[in-house]
Structure formats: C-alpha cells, structure tokens
C-alpha cells in the first residue's frame, strides 16, 4: 500500500496574526484614553499659572476661550479668541468701538444663560491688564467664568518658600 506523506511546507512569510492582536489592543487603548481635541482656539504658547485645585468642564459647547497674552509695559493686553471658526486677535478697544465686548455680547445672545468664558491668562499678566478683559465680560452680562490653570504638584507648592 502506497503511503501518502504530507508534502513539505515551504517557508512562508511572517505570521502576522499576533501583530494584529497587539495593534488592535493599542488602538482600543488609544480610543478609550484619548479624546480628539475639539478646536477651542487655544494658544499653547501661553504659560498658564499653576494651581492645586481645579475642576473639569465636561461640556465645552457653551464656552468661549479667551487667550490673554502678557504684553510687558502695555496697558491693554492682546486677546485672541475663536470667532467664526477662526482664531484671531480681538481688540479690546478700537477707537470708540469695543470689538471684544461685541463678540462677547453676540456669544451671550447665542448661548444664553449657559454662556461661560474661559480665561487663559499668561501667568505674568498683571491685574491691570486682566481687569480690562473682566470688565468687557461683565459689560456683556456674563458672570460665569473659568480660569484655566495647569495642575501643580502639591508637594512642590508646599515646599516653595
């Protein structure tokens, strides 16, 4: 009786099935752990102050972020914000006009009582400069504000002189 033997298996390519498993795990990890950045018009060059305390804002839908840049020896700070899907400078005053106030009033009109302004101020900003932005926010009738900070290490803050 003729025996049939298995023909030799040729050396094929690398078995990629375990690689798929690992890559799928990584994808699921990144999908769960990251959140796609929603464009808020934030300026990452601004050095935010540190704070131990802080809350998260879950719903960013009714917020407007104002980037308040530090301008040394200037009375009026430079403010940038996302207006009509574009991040651009919004002047506090322009002659008799107050563009920032107009933007804030329009924002309050579109979002009503849920309006919230997020202030991203440079840590070296002076209150004299920040005050002008706060005045504009107050004149627009918005009381809900949030001051964005970076988380600080409580031990480092306690150890600081």
């Amino acid at each position: 009786m003729k025996k049939h033997s298995m023909p030799e298996m040729k050396e094929g390519s690398v078995n990629v099935t375990p690689l798929i498993d690992v890559v799928m795990c990584l994808i699921i990890f990144f999908m769960l752990m990251t959140k796609l950045g929603v464009a808020r018009g934030i300026d990452k060059d601004i050095k935010l102050p540190n704070a131990i305390l802080g809350a998260k804002i879950e719903n960013m839908g009714d917020t407007l972020s104002l980037n308040v840049h530090y301008m040394p020896s200037a009375e009026i700070p430079q403010v940038t914000a996302q207006v009509e899907s574009t991040t651009k400078e919004v002047k506090l005053t322009e002659g008799r006009d107050k563009p920032l106030e107009r933007v804030l009033i329009a924002f309050k009109k579109s979002h009503g009582d849920k309006s919230r302004i997020i202030i991203r101020g440079d840590q070296n900003l002076t209150y004299g400069q920040l005050e002008k932005v706060l005045m504009a926010i107050s004149n627009a009738g918005i009381n809900d504000t949030a001051y964005e900070t970076k988380p600080a290490d409580p031990n480092a803050v306690a150890a600081a002189p």
Partner: protein, 161 residues
C-alpha cells in the same frame, strides 16, 4: 513513458492580512497624533461677576439675603532678585498680612470658623479680591485658590485700587 508531474498542493492560507495591518497602523498613527490625553488643564470656576467700584456685581435678588463680603486687598511686592520678579501681600479685615497662599488659607479658615460660630454659613459669604494693578496673575490664582481651599464657595474680583 509518460512522466507525470508532482501534484501541486494548494493550501487554504486564509485572507491576506498584510493590507489589514497597513490600515490598522494608519488608524493607530492617526489616533496617536490627533488625540490629546485628557487632564492637561483644569479650571477655577466662578459665577460671581466683577465687582465694579461703587457697586456690587450682580443685581441683588430680593428673595435672597445679601452675601456678607470678606474683602482681601492684594498688593504687588516687587523683588528683582526673585526669579519670578516678586510676590504679593494679601490682607483684610481680621486677616493678617501674608505673602503665602498657605498662610492666607489658614487665616481665611479661622475667619470662616468665626462666621460659623456667629451662625453665618459659607454660602452667605463672598470673598471679594481687590488686587493692585501690578499684581501678577499667578499670585491672584494663588490667592483665589487659598479662598477655595478654605471652603469659601463664592470668590469674586473687584476693580483695582
């Protein structure tokens, strides 16, 4: 004599996985680049509007009692030798002058204990910060944070002195 060739054995190798690996890699790289890990920043929240000179922030609600203000005056203390350019000094009625956020927190906690002993709840108190024009934003945040750590729920800024 007819020679018969060896039978070609064809193995079912399944679907080709290599394009799948390519697609999965692209998705992975996209998620790595586009996503941002949450928790990078936090917020100090405030629903108290700006206190302007000669008036309080919001229109008083006749159905609610007026909040008792706890005023804190903040001055800038320049120090050219300091890497930060200087610090601050915070003081108020019944609050000893201090240049430390931690000491200020302790002073505010002591003051809160006095109010509680007198029957005033923290919800009826409002910390009003009166910063000088040259006070740095990072020092303001430190004072703001001290007030929140001392369990005050309402903290507002006033126009500068």
């Amino acid at each position: 004599m007819k020679m018969k060739g060896a039978k070609q054995v064809h193995y079912e190798s399944g679907p080709n996985m290599i394009p799948l690996v390519d697609v999965v890699m692209v998705i992975l790289i996209f998620l790595m680049l586009a996503g941002t890990f949450g928790g990078a920043t936090q917020f100090l929240l405030s629903k108290q509007g700006l206190h302007k000179k000669g008036s309080s922030a919001a229109k008083p609600d006749p159905n609610k009692p007026i909040d008792t203000p706890v005023e804190i005056h903040i001055d800038n203390i320049p120090d050219p030798s300091s890497p930060d350019g200087g610090g601050f000094r915070a003081q108020g009625t019944g609050i000893k002058p201090t240049a430390s956020g931690d000491m200020l927190r302790q002073e505010l906690e002591a003051k809160l204990a006095q109010f509680k002993a007198a029957g005033t709840s923290p919800d009826q108190l409002e910390i009003v910060l009166y910063p000088g024009r040259n006070v740095k934003y990072r020092n303001l945040i430190e004072v703001y944070q001290a007030a929140l750590q001392a369990k005050y729920t309402k903290v507002a800024f006033a126009t500068s002195h």
